[in-house]
């Protein structure tokens, strides 16, 4: 049963990572404009174009 200590630790760290990623995405302005990227992705890519990674909204 002692394995649960490790599991809890991992689960907390993982959840914390998701939270951190969400903050990072938020700071990076990924949620500022939710409309243009949807159109942008349809263009033929002759020029450089960043894809928009999806990050989970909330993490547990």
């Amino acid at each position: 049963m002692e394995v649960i200590f490790i599991l809890i630790g991992i689960s907390l760290v993982m959840a914390g990572c998701f939270l951190w990623l969400f903050f990072k995405a938020m700071k990076g302005g990924q949620f500022d404009d939710q409309h243009t990227p949807a159109i942008r992705i349809l263009f033929e890519n002759k020029t450089k174009n960043k894809t928009n990674k999806k990050t989970p909204n909330k993490s547990e």
Partner: protein, 817 residues
């Protein structure tokens, strides 16, 4: 005959490859494509040279019409001014500069594509990025190779001229959207979720198998996770409660803060001193739901701006004449006595005297009336007017911020900013009584139990405080109001924030502006007097008015309906006067009386706008054009008159009083010849007799009244266009729904009250157990989310249902174009 009609059809078929407008006689054929004007062709040339013709494949005729394109080379000279360019740019280092422009023409995928490929037009541009909803373009460029001015000129050259206004200089940068709340919400959600897991062993006896070591571990983990909730996510509530405490009032956040602190302290004591379970998962859930409600309430309409003042419409630079030399200088540097030049479609930036023989000024920004006013040499032109016609020279009389109109912003109503928000909301008033009752119950419980068992007394005391934490109470308001805001938004009624709803419900006096608010250019009433119009004459007139973009021409055009236009020769528009042409060797003229030196004699009918029609110099007939009242206004007034005190304020003379009374009935008090300052003081007078005033207006001349009233609604025919600072923006077509909006705001109040009853019921159950000292963490963990969720469900379902019954909750009509 047949021949000409097929020719016409053919003519109608050719549309501009760039902008999609029909190509008239002066259409151009170039590179295998049709263009309506040289402006559109120029844009096409620029794009094809740079291999950017994909622009035309992404959407059909994506361009904007370039007919009125300004071709002056020096109009962006002001961007060379260090002071101005410093304020416009977002960021600069040794290598590159970032700048964000507002480009109102952005409307389709092609626009985005082209604007994001600016770097292919000039090597100095590193990249550009479009925000479609906000219509903003961020450009990154190397200042070594290209300057700000050249970028703006480049964008103007391809038909996307950035709108740079005076307000871009004032505030450093727009305040960024408040992300703190979302961070807090995320933290609370994260902690709440994890605490729920770690609390499970407390609730299930099977978990006993894990042994006491695990139980303690889980408790300590819960304490750890509760720290960010208590010290970070909940900080807003402590601040708000402390502020209320300092002002000796009680708001909704006082009982919440009290509950949070009790929960936290009691749980810590329980876990560390008594070795019991805590209520920390309840604490996490509480904060999560509360912040969720707060976030839901914060619905904002990004594309709309609710606090624009005159600077958002004034140009950033003007052309000054110095020793007959033109120079472009920033508006802020204009001084009284300067001679400035204002060209076609440019805004007069300061009150000034006209130096040319005549000018035709369109005051639609100011009054909502779009028919230009003809002015003679020496007359005073107010800031905010727009010149239509050839360039005029003006002598500046007042500095731009001191004008007749802009002086409004120096009024005291504008200096006390958030004065209106101090109004106690329904929830805050109730929470005062609530807090008092809860404390009373808690202390009497303590007193009762202390007679038998003191520790039991303390437990019951804290239990009351914990269980009555007004979570459901605090959530009913934001969710109801937030949902109502969304419902209103679907009917094109956009509120600045949710407090406006509570103010709307309290309104008892309505004040309307006339021009542009109750009346609309699209509903102009046209009457024709004179010789009967044959079909042929109608065709001639139709062809004539199609040549002009003057508002009166447009209205006559609409009045004539579907007639096939005749072929005219030598069509000429004389600015400020009218149109002349030749048809079958007869000279035709349409316009003001002065066009044919006709004396404006018929004084009997000298109301509103008149357009005279001449053939061979003989006056054949006259069009009388009155501003028309919007559809449904009469019905709206009938619906409103019983419940509200109605007033109408108009800047015009009272020649339309009779028409208005006939249309609207005589229950509405009418006041004419009201200056912007009169309107403001009229509202203030009403407020002094303790009325709750709602002002409905549209132009800059209503800005003062909109500002000072309890609720100011700006009516606009194009949501993304002009609107002065206000609490709400309403689509002109939906103005007739105003009674329903007011009614629904009142319903919202009732829904909040009903949900209060619901949450009181929960609290009553909770208190019943709490006073007996029977509250356990399990009960809390069940009761708390159950009450919150059921209240949220109740308010959203009820408001949606009621809105649906009123026909308001239809499919979204928002179009972001």
């Amino acid at each position: 005959m047949e021949n000409t009609s097929t020719e016409k059809e053919k003519k109608q078929q050719t549309t501009c490859y760039h902008c999609g407008e029909p190509c008239d006689n002066d259409g151009l054929y170039h590179d295998g494509k049709d263009f309506c004007c040289s402006g559109c062709r120029t844009v096409y040339d620029v794009l094809s040279e740079n291999d950017l013709c994909d622009y035309y494949n992404l959407a059909n005729t994506p361009g904007n019409n370039q007919k009125n394109r300004a071709t002056r080379d020096n109009r962006f000279d002001y961007l060379d001014d260090k002071e101005i360019s410093e304020k416009l740019i977002d960021f600069r280092d040794e290598d590159q500069t970032h700048v964000t422009f507002y480009v109102p023409m952005v409307h389709c995928a092609s626009c985005i594509w082209l604007l994001e490929n600016l770097n292919r037009l000039d090597q100095g541009i590193i990249s550009s990025r479009v925000d479609f909803i906000k219509k903003k373009v961020q450009v990154k460029f190397q200042q070594e190779y290209i300057g700000l001015k050249d970028i703006v000129a480049l964008m103007a050259g391809i038909g996307y001229e950035p709108a740079i206004n005076l307000s871009d200089l004032n505030v450093g940068k727009r305040p960024k959207m408040d992300r703190k709340l979302i961070y807090k919400l995320a933290v609370a959600g994260f902690c709440f979720g994890n605490m729920m897991f770690f609390s499970l062993p407390e609730y299930f006896s099977e978990a006993e198998l894990l042994g006491p070591g695990f139980k303690n571990l889980f408790r300590y983990l819960n304490v750890l996770l509760s720290l960010p909730v208590f010290f970070y996510a909940a900080t807003d509530y402590y601040q708000s409660a402390w502020l209320a405490f300092k002002n000796r009032t009680v708001n909704m956040d006082v009982p919440i803060a009290m509950g949070i602190i009790t929960l936290f302290v009691y749980s810590l004591v329980g876990i560390f001193l008594l070795g019991q379970e805590g209520y920390l998962d309840t604490l996490g859930g509480l904060l999560f739901f509360l912040l969720l409600g707060k976030w839901y309430q914060q619905k904002t309409f990004d594309t709309l701006s609710f606090d624009r003042d005159y600077t958002a419409y004034f140009p950033i630079a003007v052309t000054r004449l110095k020793k007959d030399q033109e120079e472009v200088i920033p508006l802020t540097k204009v001084q009284v006595g300067d001679i400035i030049r204002v060209r076609n479609e440019e805004l007069v930036p300061a009150d000034s005297i006209l130096l040319n023989e005549e000018a035709s000024i369109d005051y639609s920004f100011v009054t909502g009336e779009e028919v230009p006013v003809g002015l003679k040499k020496g007359s005073l032109i107010y800031a905010g007017g727009r010149q239509k016609g050839p360039a005029i020279n003006l002598a500046v009389q007042k500095s731009p911020s001191q004008g007749y109109l802009t002086d409004l912003w120096n009024h005291e109503a504008f200096s006390k900013r958030e004065q209106k928000d101090s109004l106690a909301s329904l929830a805050n008033r109730i929470s005062g009584k609530f807090t008092f009752t809860v404390l009373l119950i808690a202390f009497s419980t303590l007193l009762y139990w202390s007679m038998y068992d003191f520790s039991m007394g303390i437990r019951a005391f804290t239990a009351v405080l914990i269980i009555t934490c007004p979570c459901a109470l605090a959530m009913s308001t934001p969710f109801t109001l937030g949902n109502i805001m969304r419902i209103f938004g679907k009917s094109s009624f956009y509120l600045k924030n949710s407090q406006v709803i509570e103010k709307l419900a309290a309104v008892d006096t309505l004040v309307f502006d006339k021009t542009g608010t109750l009346t609309s250019p699209a509903n102009a009433k046209i009457r024709y007097e004179g010789e009967k119009l044959s079909d042929e004459t109608r065709g001639v007139l139709k062809a004539l008015v199609s040549y002009s973009v003057h508002p009166l021409s447009n209205r006559i055009n609409r009045y004539l309906g579907q007639v096939s236009p005749a072929d005219l020769e030598k069509v000429e528009e004389i600015p400020g006067k009218g149109l002349t042409a030749t048809y079958k060797s007869q000279s035709i003229a349409l316009g003001a009386a002065s066009l044919m030196e006709l004396k404006p004699d018929d004084a009997v009918n000298s109301r509103g706008n008149k357009v005279y029609f001449f053939v061979e110099g003989v006056h054949l007939g006259t069009f009388f054009i009155d501003s028309g009242i919007r559809n449904g206004m009469g019905k709206m007034v009938q619906e409103l008159k019983n419940r509200f005190d109605l007033h109408l304020l108009s800047g015009d003379l009272d020649h339309e009083r009779q028409i208005l009374e006939r249309e609207l009935g005589n229950e509405i008090h009418m006041y004419f010849q009201q200056s912007p300052a009169d309107k403001l003081s009229h509202i203030e007078r009403l407020q002094h007799s303790s009325k709750q005033v709602l002002m409905v207006g549209d132009g800059l001349n209503d800005a003062g009244a909109l500002r000072v009233s309890q609720v100011g609604i700006a009516v606009t025919d194009n949501i993304s266009h002009f609107s002065p600072a206000s609490d709400a923006i309403l689509d002109g077509k939906k103005l007739s729904l105003l009674p329903q909006f007011l009614d629904f705001a009142d319903t919202g109040r009732k829904v909040i009250k009903a949900s209060f009853v619901l949450s009181f019921a929960y609290n009553a159950v909770g208190i019943y157990y709490a006073v007996q000292g029977l509250v356990s963490p399990v009960l809390c963990a069940i009761l708390m989310p159950a009450s919150s969720i059921s209240v949220v469900l109740f308010t959203t379902v009820v408001t949606n249902l009621l809105a649906f019954r009123r026909g308001m909750n239809q499919k979204a009509t928002e179009k972001w174009k």
